[in-house]
């Protein structure tokens, strides 16, 4: 109990610092127009959440889909803001349409995250084989994304 309490006390300032840094990076990205700082900010926010998980150590944090959707909305709005730095005369209703897309995406992310969380809750397994399978799946997914994204026509 004492050790957990200590971890919680240490994690709070670390998490707060990470969130502050993330906000700083986000503001920097928007003010300076550096899009790479947005991903830094997202990673810092993710790290803050990971620190919170490590400190609290819940069996399964049910707020994870909300955190995921929040991170996605933050990222979308940040990138949108960067795109708007370029002065472009858009058609009427363009902003509303994109806002709708972002909202749908956030809801979709929330649903997907909840589904994944439910699957993770149902099939809690452990072992090297599971780890290897997860690593291979993650690497494969990333490889597909990278290859598809780099393809030029």
């Amino acid at each position: 109990m004492l050790a957990l309490a200590d971890a919680g006390e240490v994690a709070l300032p670390v998490g707060a610092r990470l969130v502050a840094l993330a906000l700083l990076a986000l503001v920097g990205a928007i003010v300076l127009g550096w899009s790479s700082l947005v991903s830094v900010s997202l990673l810092l926010l993710g790290a803050a959440y990971a620190t919170h998980l490590a400190a609290d150590d819940p069996a399964l944090d049910v707020r994870a889909p909300l955190v995921a959707a929040g991170l996605l909305v933050t990222a979308e709005l940040a990138y949108w803001s960067l795109e708007e730095r370029e002065e472009i005369r858009a058609e009427r209703g363009e902003s509303l349409r994109h806002l709708g897309v972002v909202t749908l995406l956030a809801l979709g992310g929330l649903v997907a995250g909840s589904a994944l969380l439910a699957v993770a809750d149902l099939a809690r397994a452990d072992g090297l084989a599971i780890d290897l399978l997860g690593a291979a799946a993650a690497a494969g997914a990333l490889l597909v994304v990278v290859l598809y994204a780099r393809r030029t026509d």
Partner: protein, 424 residues
Amino acid sequence: MTRAASPRLEGYVIVLAVALVAALVLRRPELAVVAAPFALSLALGLRAAGAPAVAAALAVDAERVVERDEIPATIEVRAATRVERLELLLALPEGVEVASGPGAFAVRLAAGEERSIPVALRCSRWGIYDVGELRLRARDALRIVTWERTVADTTRVSAYPRTESLRRILAPRETQVFTGSEVARTKGDGIEYADLREYVPGDRLRSINWRATARRGGLVVNEQHPERNTDVVLFVDSFSDVQHAGRSTLDDAVRATATLAARYLERRDRVGLVTFGGILRWLQPAMGTSQRFRLVEALLETGVEPTYMWRDVNVIPARILPPKALIVGITPLLDRRFVATMADLRGRGFDLAVVEVDPISYVEAGRTELERLAYRLWLLDRGVLRGRLARLGIAVARWGHDTELDAALEGVRTYRRRARLARV
């Protein structure tokens, strides 16, 4: 179109990778859940991002305009496939700008849709511009992937220099043989009264001055000055240029030249052009509207080309500098070679006048004592050059930004009324 990853794609891939690795290392499925919306966004975006088939062009409605006038243009877009967001960015050359609003547009096109977007352009400076380059950037609905292409189907637009207001021009000392608007010093058929003389056989009856005849007791006829045209050669100094805050002496010199050319041509005078600098260009004196266009087109190519090769007026064909022509030098009075050329022409007996495009307002005196000393020396040097021209009997009109060209030329007119042409 060339496919490219958006910053969103790169950022999401990084977040996805780090979250998945962290989930495996820390054995926290929540971190994989955090990665799920990013994976979903990437999956949907990459799946929906098909290559768009788009054709676009910028059609410019006028190929000849006066600087600072608006040029109506239209962006024509046609999409064979559906495009969620097509950004059209005008890549305009330096000197051309969009008259109002941004130079980029975003449209959403359905398959087979055509769209015309009106846009007003403006040339901020005279010159020749290739207008029409368009950069197309198509994005999918989730803006994960971008497709880019540049359309370089350009139209050449000539922006003519804006003319200054000028009511009176410099009258050449001598006239030519063709009918024009300048009252000649010689006597002949004309409107302007010149003198009286005794009647000689062959004189027309209507030229008899009956009052004078009654007083003198013999037939007396009126004599008139005929109206003749003149030859004018505009000599533009393109050896050097002073630029400051978007203005330049060469720009002003070209505007003054265009103004003078237009006014002389309106009077049926023959006007020629010599741009004297790194590259020597000339245009034979001629009259008429077509000559005006030729002159302006030749002026548009004027620029400062640095050279160490010295060419004097001997290389200019004799027909370019006809006898009895008035040569008007338009110069910022910065290069001694131009002054030497004026002296050379003066030595050949040409009637000369100089319009000095004053560069004083383009130059700051400097902050340090040394800079201010250099500035004062420069001013003195300019005074010396001006004095050299004055000693040769060449009137100099100083035309600055605070002076009208008309007012500057008035001083020259006064000088020339009192001066007499001397052979040197």
